[in-house]
């Protein structure tokens, strides 16, 4: 087992055992979180760093999945950092929290323990204004340097702020329409602090980026072995760059062709998902999750409904989803995993030079799966298919279209037949073709073997997830490590490769494609067997405004890109509303970028796009 922890007997204790051990060793610093519906422990932030080391080294929780802040304004008036740690060998979560004041918020940085906390702490600083002493590079990550305020704080209001919670009162019954910009003096989505100094307006966002490279003014002089004096060069890639898969940006310093350091710059698609999510009702958030990782929206839906169902199950009137519902969910998620991996491999190939031919083959398959999504869920990409305790609708009898214009061309298939053909012929054939096209391709091998290497220790320490983690030899797949839905009874293997390079990640994706097909083959008979069963436990669709009991929940799924987690706090102080108090997305695309710097060090500039492509990010999720 490649873990960073030394083998100690404690690394196998249960969560309760671990908590007991911590309480015994730090009696003053640790208290149980006994708020209603909460779990885990609250750690005195003065001793957080020591305790974190114990948690990692002695107790074996070597994988920090998520670290996020919550603003409890009005419910204790404090800020809280919430950490979810796991063992890379599988099992449940250890939740620990550290609290601090709202003014002058400060919590010691855990980057020295888990490097994976790096970006997440920067995000907490950016959006919540919590300072992390000990963080090597604490600056804004999603917003630009110089932006006023920390927008996720509960008392920070946007320019288009209307009301604290949805639904807004102005929509009905007296809904006289206006556009938000008509109410703003500037006609735009802007608001400036009163003390704005217009005489010294400077764009500070860029300087901050370059300063962090230690480059500000003086470019480091490097003496190479032949005695030539060379300069390190700063190369800026993105945000408008065809190979950054969206609006991602990297600032590299290069020595000749070799990359010496790399700094990801993001936030160009920061759409304030979480701020909007905390104003939304629980139901409103489902279509918003579609727009996170917009390649595999079904997976996003799944993680979110799992998290909310966890909360709902704390209440009394909750019914487990029916078996058919679970089977349908799994089928949809696996289909979108196939879409996701085809897309990821295709665009990774684009990046390393196989321009567009393979992608076109893959997109053809994707189109067929999207046709299926469109016929079942109503939209090709933004499926919005899952509901709490159920689904939008069962499979239709036939995948059928009706013409409403004279030159419409109509399609009509039997749904199950279509699925059977896809699963038994079409998709396996595409995977075979993919392998034939690429796996033995010498150019591909030369380009990708040994490039972008990430060791198993680093992968765990940097909280890498998904194919990135498994490509480094860590057999960690949430579907097996911490099973949810009906994955436990399904027969499939965790794809894993040891090399840790781009090629290994590619191989992991191909294997996962095959495993997904294997799962789908098992799902189809289950769908046949449950035909006629309702997708809702009590036979009728759920309410549009479910009452969610107090508490917190962390629901996570293995999405195409890695561990997608939703941390949801219900009603922190506001009982009886239908809006989450905290809604946080642990985005695999975002956290998988943390090791980007070490993965690209020492490789050529031309490899960088390939390495980025092999991580497989989607900006909607990275920036949220």
């Amino acid at each position: 087992m490649p873990t960073a922890a030394p083998a100690a007997p404690l690394t196998n204790t249960s969560i309760e055992g671990a908590i007991d051990h911590l309480k015994a060793s730090y009696p003053d610093a640790i208290s149980a979180d006994d708020r209603e519906g909460y779990g885990g422990i609250i750690v005195d932030s003065a001793q957080l760093l020591d305790i974190a080391r114990v948690i990692r080294d002695e107790l074996g929780f070597d994988y920090l999945s998520s670290a996020t802040a919550v603003d409890y304004l009005g419910a204790g008036d404090h800020m809280e950092m919430v950490y979810h740690a796991y063992r890379s060998s599988g099992g449940g979560t250890l939740v620990f929290k550290a609290q601090t004041d709202r003014d002058n918020a400060e919590i010691p940085s855990l980057v020295s323990v888990w490097r994976g906390a790096d970006f997440q702490e920067r995000e907490a600083w950016d959006l919540y204004g919590i300072r992390f002493p000990g963080h090597p590079n604490l600056k804004r990550i999603l917003m630009w340097e110089g932006f006023h305020g920390h927008p996720m704080r509960k008392d920070w209001r946007e320019a288009y702020y209307e009301e604290e919670l949805k639904p807004f009162d102005s929509r009905w019954p007296g809904g006289h329409v206006h556009r938000a910009e008509e109410k703003n003096v500037f006609g735009k989505n802007v608001s400036y602090p009163r003390e704005i100094d217009l005489s010294r307006l400077m764009d500070t966002s860029e300087t901050a980026v370059y300063q962090s490279l230690g480059l500000g003014v003086d470019v480091e002089r490097v003496m190479d072995k032949d005695g030539f004096e060379t300069n390190e060069l700063v190369v800026n890639m993105g945000p408008h760059h065809p190979s950054t898969h969206g609006v991602f940006r990297m600032v590299l310093t290069v020595d000749g062709e070799t990359v010496t350091s790399l700094e990801p710059v993001m936030g160009y698609l920061h759409r304030n998902h979480e701020k909007i999510g905390e104003r939304n009702t629980y139901l409103h958030n489902i279509p918003f999750t579609d727009r996170l990782d917009y390649i595999s929206s079904m997976g996003n839906n799944h993680g979110y409904v799992l998290a909310v169902e966890q909360l709902l199950s704390l209440g009394r009137r909750y019914n487990e989803p029916t078996y058919r519902c679970e089977a349908l969910r799994v089928m949809m998620v696996e289909l979108s995993r196939i879409v996701n991996h085809l897309w990821a491999i295709g665009f990774w190939l684009n990046d390393i030079g196989a321009f567009f031919t393979p992608v076109l083959y893959f997109i053809q398959e994707r189109e067929r799966i999207l046709d299926f999504f469109e016929a079942v869920a109503g939209s090709r990409m933004m499926c919005n298919y899952m509901r709490f305790g159920g689904l939008f609708a069962d499979l239709p009898e036939r995948l059928k279209s009706v013409s409403n214009l004279t030159n419409d061309r109509v399609r009509d298939y039997n749904t199950m037949q279509f699925l059977t053909e896809m699963v038994s012929e079409r998709i396996p054939r595409t995977i075979d073709e993919l392998e034939q096209l690429l796996t033995q391709n010498e150019i591909l091998i030369e380009r990708s073997v040994g490039v972008g290497v990430l060791s198993a220790e680093d992968a765990i320490n940097y909280s890498a997830a998904g194919p990135l983690l498994r490509g480094s030899g860590v057999p960690y797949d949430i579907r097996r490590a911490d099973p949810y839905s009906i994955y436990e009874e399904l027969d499939f293997d965790v794809a894993v490769e040891d090399a840790g390079d781009m090629y290994a990640r590619y191989r992991v994706r191909v294997k996962e494609l095959r495993e997904s097909v294997r799962i789908l083959r098992q799902i189809l008979p289950r769908l046949e067997a449950t035909k006629g069963q309702s997708i809702w436990a009590d036979g009728k669709p759920g309410a549009y405004a479910p009452r969610v009991p107090l508490g917190e929940a962390y629901g996570r799924v293995e999405n195409g890109k890695g561990e997608l987690g939703y941390y949801i706090v219900s009603a922190g102080g506001r009982s009886g509303t239908a809006n989450p108090w905290r809604y946080h997305v642990r985005a695999p695309s975002f956290i998988n970028l943390t090791p980007m710097g070490i993965m690209s060090k020492g490789y050529k500039v031309a490899d960088i796009v390939g390495i980025l492509g092999s991580i497989d990010i989607v900006l909607g999720e990275t920036d949220r």
Partner: protein, 273 residues
């Protein structure tokens, strides 16, 4: 041997190229002729060759559940008592479930009594905000708002075209039945009538109506196995075998389609002008 992997890959692209011709020969002109089956061949799971849709000349029809921006249902023009009346009762549920809050409803008030009447005075949807999520249609208790299939909405000016008001949103019930027959039928089963719930109620109350009274919905949730005896409206065969689920005569449908096209043309003209 070095290069075999490369050659294999190239062979594959070659095979794709050849396949497209073989496929063409296999299906011949049938593949490209304009009939339902053939388009199914070209877009289906078996095809290997060209899959391009010649967009403006032929279009992939969208499936029934497809959702683009919403529209409101009004009663058909030939309805004896409620022609052109809104189905919407301005209950406000759609405005509440709308995630980006882009539905604006002014509830109607009776001018005399000042009491709310079940009819919206104004209804707006800002399609620059609408995320096509379909919640409004899903949670409307009166089946009064539905997701449209008309995606050809591009315009040159958004200030005048992108907030849809009630006129722009309203489409007759028959339009909904033409774009989503299966679902319209399912809804009819659970509602118990092809008309609005209220119409059925009125009919039951024995008020003047040329239509025979619609049956009471047997069970709201599961479609009752017994065919509801809605005599005035043709009894559809449950969506089986790909046949149109109701046996309405084609002339009528053609008429509807023509009307829809006209409306579309009118809109296009408006938009263009």
């Amino acid at each position: 041997m070095y290069g075999t992997g490369l050659a294999k890959g190239l062979l594959l692209t070659l095979r794709h190229f050849v396949d497209s011709y073989i496929d063409d020969i296999r299906y011949g002109f049938r593949k490209y002729s304009h009939s339902v089956d053939n388009f199914g061949v070209r877009q289906g799971t078996q095809t290997k060759g060209v899959i391009t849709v010649q967009y403006p000349d032929e279009k992939v029809a969208v499936p029934e559940r497809f959702r683009f921006v919403p529209f409101l249902i009004i009663e058909d023009e030939d309805h004896p008592t409620r022609a052109g009346k809104d189905w919407c009762t301005s209950c406000g549920i759609c405005a509440k479930v709308c995630p980006p809050q882009c539905i604006w409803i002014v509830r109607g008030n009776d001018p005399v009594t000042g009491r709310p009447v079940p009819e919206p005075e104004a209804f707006f949807i800002d399609i620059d905000i609408c995320m096509n999520c379909g919640y409004c249609a899903e949670y409307c208790p009166f089946d009064a708002i539905k997701m449209d299939h008309d995606y050809e909405l591009a315009s040159y000016d958004r200030t005048t075209h992108h907030i849809h008001d009630k006129d722009r949103l309203s489409k007759p019930n028959s339009y909904w039945r033409s774009i989503a027959p299966t679902r319209a039928y399912e809804e009819m089963l659970s509602r118990g009538t092809w008309e609005h719930k209220d119409a059925a109620k009125e009919a039951r109350r024995g008020q003047t109506s040329s239509r025979p009274s619609a049956p009471r919905p047997a069970a709201q949730a599961a479609p009752a196995p017994a065919q509801p005896a809605a005599q005035a409206t043709p009894a559809p065969a449950a969506s089986a075998g790909g046949a149109t689920p109701w046996s309405e005569d084609d002339a009528k449908r053609e008429e509807r389609r023509r009307k829809a096209l006209e409306r579309k043309a009118r809109r296009a003209a408006k938009r263009g002008g």
